[in-house]
């Protein structure tokens, strides 16, 4: 699939470890991306891109050397190996190597209609369908922005320890943003659908429905009242709502923060960190979901990692380096945006498991608070555990029923408080529909989240209305 001769790889590792070093590996990547952008009722552009490159890493004691190059030709790979190997200078004899065995070539299964066999006009047609439906949803619609992208990323990981595997990741995503306007007030509605799939995904996610939903959300938000300010109960809707825990908890469980003692979760394995209702899992093996893969970007097999089990902290997310430093198993969470980056510990698909309460009851049971139907971006400081995320579609809850929509506002809290204050978990577990992308240290990777509807007894809502 990736056509790099194992003999070339053996030569690369010989060069990389010529001056010493404990370990070397190579990450080669070939990515092809097709993008359609539609706005102003026009297909603005159709775009195709191709990236191919590789990076060689050398680990010598506590120091890592890394060099990457465009292309896969032998001369470039050897040059990268030589440059990366400089960190090992004066460290004695050449590093040990294990011969490469048979490659494990993996690929996403269950893809019925891969995009290679789709024409540009089929891609364009998906955006036109969503656009028409969004425009027809109401007279307040002023703009519809659509972006469709599909990518095929092929990766090869080979290591001086004998690691030798390939993976193929096929991501696709349709994003619809609608601006609605009434009396000079403007609001946005956004829907995105994606996964690791082919064209068949849009039989499940009908483009017209995605467009219409985004437009209805934007129009609905035109009636929004100023959001309240202050602490109150917050009910978070299922599926994409799980991004709250991605920010509030997930990042703090990434082992680089733990190893640097810059996470509130450092040293807390085996301790009660959450309400006993909470079980939190990272799972790269969910079939065809956005954060899934067969091997991570260091060649470690994908796995399901329980992180919090009935309130007790049971694991961290590691890459190979952090696993070694912390004496933990490699959990298959070493990920990178591309060959231009070193791998770091990242989440894959992070979710909270289902509880037993009827979600309708959960709202009826809330006297005053807000219901969060959709979230925007979020951010956390793992050292303090303080986090924020923005509510893009929210409603007041008054006397146990949903009332007015509220203008966008930030929710703020800290990690332990939010986990302790979860006082009801619904039975309606869902994964998000494939829209997540997470940024860390300048690297962006696709992720999934999931949860049932749940309630946090108290969270700070950062609106503009301080109340009576």
């Amino acid at each position: 699939m990736t056509d790099i001769d194992p003999k070339v790889l053996e030569g690369v590792f010989a060069e990389a470890l010529a001056r010493g070093g404990d370990f070397s590996d190579l990450f080669a990547e070939d990515q092809r991306t097709a993008t359609v952008v539609l706005e102003d009722d026009r297909v603005e552009r159709v775009q195709f891109g191709h990236d191919r490159g590789a990076g060689v890493r050398v680990v010598a004691g506590d120091v890592t050397g890394y060099a990457y190059v465009d292309g896969w030709d032998e001369a470039s790979l050897l040059r990268a190996a030589r440059v990366a190997g400089r960190v090992a200078r004066d460290r004695g004899a050449p590093g040990k190597r294990v011969a490469l065995g048979t490659i494990a070539a993996l690929t996403a299964s269950g893809i019925a209609r891969p995009f290679e066999s789709a024409s540009e006009s089929e891609r364009v047609e998906l955006t036109l369908r969503a656009n028409r439906a969004a425009r027809a949803a109401g007279g307040e619609v002023r703009q519809v922005t659509l972006r469709f992208a599909d990518a095929v990323q092929r990766v090869l990981v080979a290591g001086s320890d004998g690691t030798f595997a390939e993976d193929e990741r096929r991501t696709v995503q349709l994003v619809v943003g609608v601006t609605a306007e009434r009396g000079g007030q403007r609001q946005v509605g956004r829907r995105a659908r994606g996964g690791q799939a082919g064209l068949e995904l849009f039989e499940r996610y009908v483009p017209e429905e995605v467009g219409r939903e985004a437009a209805q959300a934007a129009i609905h938000m035109l009636d929004a009242v100023p959001a309240p300010a202050g602490p109150m109960p917050v009910v978070v809707g299922n599926g994409w709502g799980g991004v709250l825990f991605h920010e509030a908890v997930g990042h703090g469980l990434e082992a680089d923060h733990v190893q640097k003692n810059s996470s509130v979760y450092a040293g807390k394995l085996g301790q009660q960190v959450a309400s006993s209702l909470v079980t939190l899992v990272d799972d790269a093996t969910v079939p065809n979901h956005r954060g899934s893969f067969r091997i991570d970007d260091e060649g470690v097999p994908a796995q399901r990692t329980p992180l919090v089990e009935r309130g007790t902290l049971s694991g961290y997310l590691t890459d190979r380096k952090q696993a070694r430093l912390l004496g933990l198993p490699a959990s298959g969470n070493g990920r990178r945006q591309s060959f231009q980056f070193l791998p770091i510990p990242r989440m894959t698909n992070l979710y909270i498991e289902a509880g037993s309460i009827d979600p309708a009851e959960l709202i009826q049971d809330t006297r005053r608070g807000i219901y969060v139907a959709s979230l925007g971006g979020g951010q956390v400081d793992p050292a303090s555990g303080q986090f924020v995320f923005s509510v893009t579609e929210g409603y007041l809850i008054e006397g146990g029923t949903l009332a007015s929509p509220i203008r966008s506002a930030t929710l703020a809290g800290d990690s332990f408080s939010v986990l302790r204050r979860i006082d009801a978990i619904g039975s309606d577990f869902a994964l998000d529909p494939g829209l997540g992308t997470c940024g860390k240290l300048g690297q962006w990777v696709p992720v999934g989240v999931g949860q049932p509807t749940l309630r946090v007894a108290e969270l700070l809502v950062g609106g503009t209305d301080p109340g009576p």
Partner: protein, 439 residues
Amino acid sequence: MRHALRATADEAEAFYSDQTTSAVEIVNGQLESVVSAAGRGVGLRALVGQRVGYAYSSDVSPEGRVELVEHAVRLAREATPDSHAGLPQAQPLDEKELGIFDSALSAYPLEWKVDLLRRLETAARQADTRVHSTDLARYSDSIRTNAVVNSRGISTSYQATSCYATLVVIARHDGEAQRGHAVTAGRGPTELEAEETGRRAARRATAALGGTIMPTQRASVVMEPEVAAELLRGLTQALSAEAVLKGRSFLVGREGQRVSSPLITLVDDGSLPRAYATAPVDGEGVPTQRTELLQTGVLGGFLHSAYTARRAGASPTGNGLRPTHRVLPEVGPSNLLLEPGPLSADGLIAGVESGLLVVTTRNVGGINPVSGDYSVGASGRWIERGEVAGPVSGVTIAAPMLEMLANLSAIASDVRWIPGLGAVAAPSVRIDDVTIGGR
């Protein structure tokens, strides 16, 4: 480009970029990683009957280029014709010296870079004993060549160097930890301010340590330069002609109107010598310039690419940004400058009876350039009778952006350059009647 014209494109543009980068990280004085790389790529924009196709690749071989042309021309046929589509015309270039290339950059050895990072770490630790450890200390530099050639006569290239150092420290006290972040950037290593940046990271980590949550209220806030810069970046998204033409800005229909306090004069200047976001031309070969966005509170203009200018009947402003060959130009800021006021930062604080000095915010997703809503997490110090008092942490600040612009009541003289996507030269600002969300 010539391949594309032969292949029946009406207009064509090739954008080429190559870059050599190096990066070094240390943790608590010890070398952690060294990264070096060379990369290049080309992007081809083809117009066929006023329809746009785009293809890019890192394969710049003759065969790769032919494939690129075939893709771009074929893809253009799938787009919708747009009477405003087209490439910019060649314009005379001002030959002034911009000072964006430091030929000495490649001569700096690894040891020098490691030592620079150690100076940042040391400065942070010496600034405050509660600074406990380093979360990240990173130096990075790059040497880049950009070239644009199009069928309307543009043929331009330039070289630029840049380097930056960033420090993230963890401060601890009484079982609580806070992170503080600061960055310094320049065209060459001598422009980096190690000690000042280390102290800044320490201050941002410690200012709100041990902080309490204040009661929910309306009050004045004083934003430090980093925080003001974030607000200005959010505002500038609404000042993009693309957002305005497409109805995606809360400033639609307000051109020529007063939209803020008369204290605000905001300029974008991509031609400012030595600044971090300066270049002779933008990502489609249009000369950069100084553009007045707000003039004493009046909305004077927007940022334009060649496309938005043609569509709006305006002149391009050289803001068609292209961070890599992987993207077509998009409207964005270069160097943003908020005109400073006469007061010191303490002078701003002295005018506040009771309010919040905002040192850091958590703002991802909290600034909405379409609806104009602003709501972010904040921490800093309380202000009591004109003086800085105890630490405050974990609150929110929120107000509609138009109200914030109108209620901006003072600007300080303490301008600091904040690098990022578009560098911002921001002073501290005071804004009245903001909702502080707390307990």
